[in-house]
Symmetry: C2
Subunit: 315 residues, 2 copies
Amino acid sequence: VVAAAVDFGGTGVKLALVTASGERLARAAFDTRAAANPAAWVEAVEGCLRRLAEEAHLPVSNWVGVGVGAPGFVDFAQGRILTLPNVPGWDEFPLAETLAGRLGRPVWVDNDVNAMALGECVAGAGRDLQQAVFLTLGTGVGGAIVLHGRVHRGAHGLAGEIGHLSIHLRGPRSPTGIGGLEQYIGNQAIVALARRRLLRPGAVSRLADAATLSVRDIAEAAAAGDALARGVFDRVGECLASALASVAYLIQPEAFIIGGGVAQAGEVLFAPLREHLARRLHPRFLRDLRLLPAALGADAGVVGCAALAFQGARA
Amino acid sequence: VVAAAVDFGGTGVKLALVTASGERLARAAFDTRAAANPAAWVEAVEGCLRRLAEEAHLPVSNWVGVGVGAPGFVDFAQGRILTLPNVPGWDEFPLAETLAGRLGRPVWVDNDVNAMALGECVAGAGRDLQQAVFLTLGTGVGGAIVLHGRVHRGAHGLAGEIGHLSIHLRGPRSPTGIGGLEQYIGNQAIVALARRRLLRPGAVSRLADAATLSVRDIAEAAAAGDALARGVFDRVGECLASALASVAYLIQPEAFIIGGGVAQAGEVLFAPLREHLARRLHPRFLRDLRLLPAALGADAGVVGCAALAFQGARA
């Protein structure tokens, strides 16, 4: 038995047929820009999915259902897209209903980060965990909470926004508050921090060309021993540790599962993160807490989308 | 049908027989210092409970069970007191087993703040809520999360410690971290803040005698229009709003239920809290969030302890 998974990203749409244990049996993908509006998107997704069904000899009518992860605000209960900040034209779109009408199978729609978190907890780093908090560190800082194998959605479906946790009472303002974590460790904030430090009088670093800096450049320099780059990741670790300590005190998960581009820095990030966490958490909380790198990479989304369908069909 | 409730506080022990809907049918109390060690405490509690049973004509053998709320670290699953920071001699004490052996009824033991939160959600301010976060503001800042009528205990039973959420990356250090909320809005921190402001050159306030100041004095002065006292509560509201915004972004409860001595300041606290929360939460999160004063006062503990027993007996 399989479910179809549609991981709707800001730049690409990934599709797959996935088993209950997270095995990916067939895949497809298309460029988000190739589908300029919801109707074109639904058309493209339907076409892709029907081709996958044929190629894999797994007829649509046998699917448990379809799970979709979308990059923005979603009303999970209604299967509606509320709004997608980076994809115009999707406000208040009844995606589950529309797609289900085309395919004749039930459809569940969730936020993409919720789907990734579920994927990691079904078949990735959190496979043996009952309570985990997932983070994806990239342009933004996304998060989701999985309790007893289910996404904790909160009273109105929007829980898990770790990127908006305030780590500084009088930090930078943004539309989501004051001193939010994302203002400190989002991709751009990391690059800006490195740039500021490079421009300090007397700064010494192999990161000479401050104009074209990326987080990957900084991570590579830090891995090679560059002190300035290491200082930047120490600061990122400190900010992230502050937020994770607060999350641990509040909900005490078994583990944090950390993915996304910035997390690919590996030990360059994890080492200072562990160090700062040890200063910020009481030993009783620190002792049992695990920090895990995400295991599924770019596949977390499709695995999680399929899990949404399996869970929905069981409920 | 009733359950017996034992609210074990740092200064007094309150006992009651309570119905499933939270009605208190009979009560007793004794001074915590009157029972110098766990054995004496168990003896005193057994005596009190048996007297209540007789007086109320509700025989022990008919009770659903006994719920105990204790002021410290508790292993709920095992019914063990791990340690009580303010009551010496209780380390690693098997309270549920001991008391159950004496009374012949099952016993559940939880942290006192968890019990209060459950009490408010069964029969108090959170009576109609599915997802609520409870705070008690006093000497310390305690918290607990109730999801779908049950305390969310986290992976190892210690979740809900809102007082340790960091609101400032480089704030004051304590054994529980850096910049913890309690360091800013615990009773002593509020008094210290008022004192610092009173000692500023040119400070004008009706709070003349900085030496004997209490939070109640400051709240009364603020209610009477004293600008310095209002400034203190504005700062308390700002700090609390920072933590509550983070909690809302993370778990999105329907409501915060706020009790404890400091919360008795009422609008003096709630008005600036609402104001700062509006600056710190995205409208989508702010819109549906309720701030509720706790409704059961000193009775939240016994009502919650009884609820523990009713829930335990059903499970």
